[in-house]
């Protein structure tokens, strides 16, 4: 029995897949728990949050540019 310090990320399964992809570039996942939960290293939280935000932002399309 042992305990490890970490940060629990609760997300939906789509975000989980993105996290796994990001993890291949730079490992931060400490423990892959299940479909909607992962444990990540406490010192990487901010980096992951930013990477994730910019990744999600790629999938958002704005009307702004098209409006005359």
């Amino acid at each position: 029995m042992r305990a490890i310090k970490g940060v629990l990320l609760t997300c939906d399964s789509a975000v989980k897949q993105i996290l796994l992809t990001l993890n291949e570039k730079e490992a931060f996942i400490v423990e892959d728990l299940d479909e909607t939960h992962v444990i990540i290293a406490p010192d990487k939280v901010e980096r992951v949050r930013q990477a994730l935000a910019s990744e999600l932002e790629k999938n958002a399309f704005s009307l702004e540019a098209n409006v005359p």
Binding site: R2, L8, D34
Partner: protein, 479 residues
Amino acid sequence: MPAPAAEALPGQHILLSFLATQSQISLTRLYSKPSACLALFRLLNALERQIIMNYLWLEGPVSSNTMDVWVTRDGRAPYEAAMRTLASLQVLPSPKPGSNMLQLSPSFKKNFRLALTGGGDHMSFGVPCEKDLAGGVNVEMLDRYAANCWESILHFMVSSGTDGRASRPTKGILYLLDRSGLMAGQGAPKITSEGFQFLLTSPHAQLWTLLLQYLSITNERNIDMVEVIQFLFMLSTMQLGQEYSTEVFTNTYHSVLEDLIDYGLVYKRNPNRIYPTRLATTLTSGSSATTSSSAVSSQAQTGASLSGNSTVATAGGGFIILETNYRLYAYTENPLQIAIINLFVSLRGRFSNLVTGSITRESVRKALDNGITADQIISYLVTHAHPQMHKNNPLIPITVQDQIRLWEQEKNRVQIAEGYLWKEFTASTDYNLVLEHARSTSSVVWENEQARMFFVTPEGHASCRDFVNQRMREGGGFA
């Protein structure tokens, strides 16, 4: 942060719930002013007022049984609710144990009679002055002054000091906004989520929210709260457009007066003389808070119309048209209203009586980042919908409503919790034992029976560690 008084019952004025939490001694002192009795009476609902009138001219106490026979079966619940309110305000105290005799509080009875019949030298309704010969002060001017003061506070809140045109309020107001949690941050305060909710309420409710906060900090400023309430009640019974002398005021009144001038409740032109504004005189205009708030908001619109030619004056003050394609048209040119809309709309064009814009992902994201919730945005749109919009059912296009909520959810796709993961239990009995302990401290965030892992908060971790260590020491043992 002091709580802004107990939760108000539906339909009950928030001041009444605040007063109900005060001690009997304070309330008895409050009722020593006839104007306070009258103002309080005006805040009560029709039934409570009728009950007071029934008792007012009786010299002796009446048995509660006598009163009960007047109450029909359907009227039982409202009657009892009214009696509870009156008892909590110490107007009609509950009978002592072992007795069922009811009578008004002697102080309230005496002074309310005085308020109705006139006479006495209590001067609690203010001392009117001779007409100011210099002139220049009329009701319109007072309305404009009050609207300017009040709107500049709101404008400052909504722009969080970033807009150069919004003048910075005085220290006293800044402190009050900070204490009430409407704005947060030292030096450059920013509006909070509560602050946005505050902007959505009616002017009457806004005023009372701030005044209650003001009352709650009177203690630390060594100001007598009862006197402050008496003063507010006195102002509320004054007549708009009439000048009053301040020479009879107590020291407390004078220091409170300075603050009220900042809020726009009082206008001071000559030394020792004040004019109450509409904000002050509508403070206690009955339980029908709607009439008073519409009075103030129509007056706020006069303020707007004087700074330009506003066509805001549509019924109910609604001015926003929202289309299914997320475009928004706001028929206003009030800088405050535009600033509020700007919180969650990307504005594109401004015309003499109209601003246009659209609700976009970015603009809503910006609002969400400021702590504003999707529901608050939607409720603002509903309250300020243009009368034309009321033909639609539902009022706000469902696509827009859903999209705003979706944008909010999108922001919360990931939740983060710090803590510790417990794993590698060799036996399921061990797992269950420790998990059981963690559950008893309700600190389990996530668990998985098959993998024999669970995640606990930092506090829960410390407790679990102690639990395991103690068990080891006692030889309870783990596999």
